[in-house]
């Protein structure tokens, strides 16, 4: 299944993209590619400083059945 097309009317639209990674880990994504992963978010944010800000996102891979607080 592919993400449904966004409706481009109305408010500004931000594309959130997609990611593949190990359940529960934090990842550094640069230009849509995962370049590093770890259980330690701080480690990933420190590493992300090495990459251009506009190309870099730090996010977490959620387990499909994850639930939170």
């Amino acid at each position: 299944m592919v993400s449904p097309p966004m409706k481009k009317h109305g408010p500004e639209y931000i594309e959130m993209g997609s990611v593949t990674g190990i359940a529960g880990q934090w990842v550094v994504v640069v230009k849509d590619k995962v370049v590093a992963s770890s259980d330690d978010a701080g480690e990933m944010f420190r590493l992300a400083e090495k990459y251009p800000e506009e190309d870099t996102v730090v996010t977490k891979i959620l387990h499909p059945r994850a639930s939170f607080y």
């Binding site: 449904p4 500004e12 931000i14 959130m16 259980d39 977490k60 939170f68 607080y69």
Partner: protein, 159 residues
């Protein structure tokens, strides 16, 4: 304050199982399971540091913003023990800390004004950034269009 007036598609992810190192499969089709979550882009700042762009999970079941302790340590936040523990969904109490952060929603040059937030930092566990009701849901009208895997956030206006 400048709130945002944006729409986002849900973040799509394919998850690799830690043990098998293989994608978790859809039981019905046998193909890698695609999962969609309502993440929104944000930047989290302290008085000392500013994060790279990250993503927070919109979570109407959370009272407020939650960040993992390792991110709090990266931001060099002053963590104060919370007066009350965090009660999780199954009724357990969890020790937590609190600290002020600045939350800026957006990406790619399109940002809200920073919002001052008292974030909860669980003493244990490794949650994603959770964006709960206070203050983001109070400042915006948020519409989840689950059937289309997208959401809209508009500044709240009293009618």
């Amino acid at each position: 304050m400048s709130a945002i007036d944006f729409q986002f598609n849900y973040k799509r992810s394919i998850t690799i199982d830690r043990l098998t190192q293989r994608p978790i499969l859809d039981a019905a089709s046998g193909t890698p399971l695609e999962v969609f979550h309502p993440f929104i882009p944000c930047v989290i700042s302290s008085e000392k540091r500013r994060s790279r762009s990250t993503e927070g999970l919109l979570d109407s079941g959370s009272d407020g913003v939650v960040i993992p302790r390792t991110l709090a340590e990266y931001l060099e936040l002053d963590l104060e023990p919370a007066s009350e523990p965090m009660m999780v969904a199954d009724g357990r109490n969890m020790e937590r800390f609190v600290s002020k952060i600045m939350l800026t929603i957006g990406r790619g040059g399109r940002y809200s004004d920073p919002i001052e937030v008292e974030a909860s930092v669980p003493a244990k566990g490794n949650p994603p950034v959770l964006i709960g009701r206070e203050p983001v849901f109070r400042l915006h009208t948020i519409t989840f269009v689950e059937a289309e895997k997208r959401l809209e956030m508009n500044p709240y206006r009293k009618v």
